[in-house]
Amino acid sequence: MSNRTLNGEQFAQMILLGAHHLSNQANMIDSLNVFPVPDGDTGTNMNLTMTSGAKEVEQLNSKHVGEISNAFAKGLLMGARGNSGVILSQLFRGFSKSVQDKETLELQDLADALQSGVDTAYKAVMKPVEGTVLTVSKDAAKAGVEAVNSVETVIDWFDIVLKEAKASLNRTPDLLPVLKEVGVVDSGGQGLVTVYEGFLASLKGEELPEHASQPSLDELVNAEHHKMHQDFMETEEIEFGYCTEFMVKFEEEKLAKNSFDEQQYREELSEHGDSLLVVADDEVVKVHIHAEYPGEVMSIGQRYGSLINIKIENMREQHSAIVDEKPVNTNAELKKKNHVQKWLL
């Protein structure tokens, strides 16, 4: 077997690791979900879809690439959930159609199969929206086809595919305005990149980085806020009124008295509000929370060190400003006087 060939065993391993990696990152992907409906389920849906595909592959126990890929596509189809899940199942339905008679895959076959997946996926939609998982898959496959003759091994080739997928993912906000507005990349695209990361790690025989492509805290905060604005139609409904962000810089003396446990800290804070995000390393812990009493939340933080970069915003004020902007024929007086329009039917 040369380095330009992929056998069935390797292929099955790729799928299993891809699914495993996706399920690790599902929560993170959920939090990026703002399009088409910001309901925060992209990661969950893709994970369920992918798990269903991987299960078929496990049960099959074959070494024939065509058979494996067929089983995988079938599992994906049966388990498809959500938009991104349906798209994922189409991508691999096309992939599997292209390789069904092949026991092992040459590099050229792989590239063709990837492209065939994209072609199939684009056929099942009337008006493809660019800046989504479709775009990411298309760009990655294109890079793959172009790279076939310039690389030595399957690993090098997949490296290029993954690199382009990531680059394409970072371009999604330029194509889809809502992503740019919120300040996140596309969640479905992130899901596909995650699967590809699993594939490549499997080919290389590497351990998977647990935080391979963690979005920044800023991205997560943006997505949380976006979801919140969708959730509350009326300002009065906001239960926790202050968006509170701060960092705690750990101090030795205080830690000696109160040892810091991230999980426990998170649980304690969660009683004070929602939209909670906690990220800790050895020196600092960053906190974002929507709370009614920000002072109490910060007091808890002070047990472990000193507070830095504090930012507190009154969300009820902000929200009424946003709600006022919504009606089309709004004017200045209306903005001041009337916070919420009542829709009487």
């Binding site: 498809a80 349906v86 189409q90 009337m126 008006k127 009542k342 009487l344 039917l345």
Partner: protein, 119 residues
């Protein structure tokens, strides 16, 4: 019939045509939908000849007194999980109507009118 929204400054009325167009526009962007099935052949045929984008094709809005029901006649791509595509359409249409005109619909009924096989 149109839907009326009253506030202290006056009335905003939203025609059924608007609801139809928003629902249709949301649906055609949904993954898995390859077409809409015409319910009004004369009107749809005419817009086709005129080359106009016709979002109202295959969408029927029924309703009185704020109880709005929407029927959508769709054609899906072969090889997709049809039940999931239908569910995604419902979800997306509901969200679009809520976001753009603040309308809560009663039901969104999906009729799968065909499956298109593309080689």
């Amino acid at each position: 019939m149109s839907i009326e929204v009253r506030n202290e400054y006056g009335t905003v009325s939203i025609s059924k045509e608007v609801i139809t167009t928003i629902a249709g526009g949301a649906a055609v962007e949904c993954y898995g939908i390859v077409g809409m099935a015409s319910r009004k052949q004369l009107k749809d045929g005419l817009s086709e000849i005129l080359g106009k984008e016709n979002f109202s094709k295959g969408v029927v809005v029924r309703g009185e007194d704020g109880d709005i029901d929407i029927d959508m006649y769709i054609i899906v791509g072969y090889g997709t999980k049809v039940s999931e595509v239908a569910h995604n359409v419902q979800n997306q249409v509901k969200y679009s109507l809520k976001k753009m005109i603040g309308l809560d619909v009663n039901t969104i009924n999906i009729y799968i009118h065909g499956v298109r096989v593309t080689s």
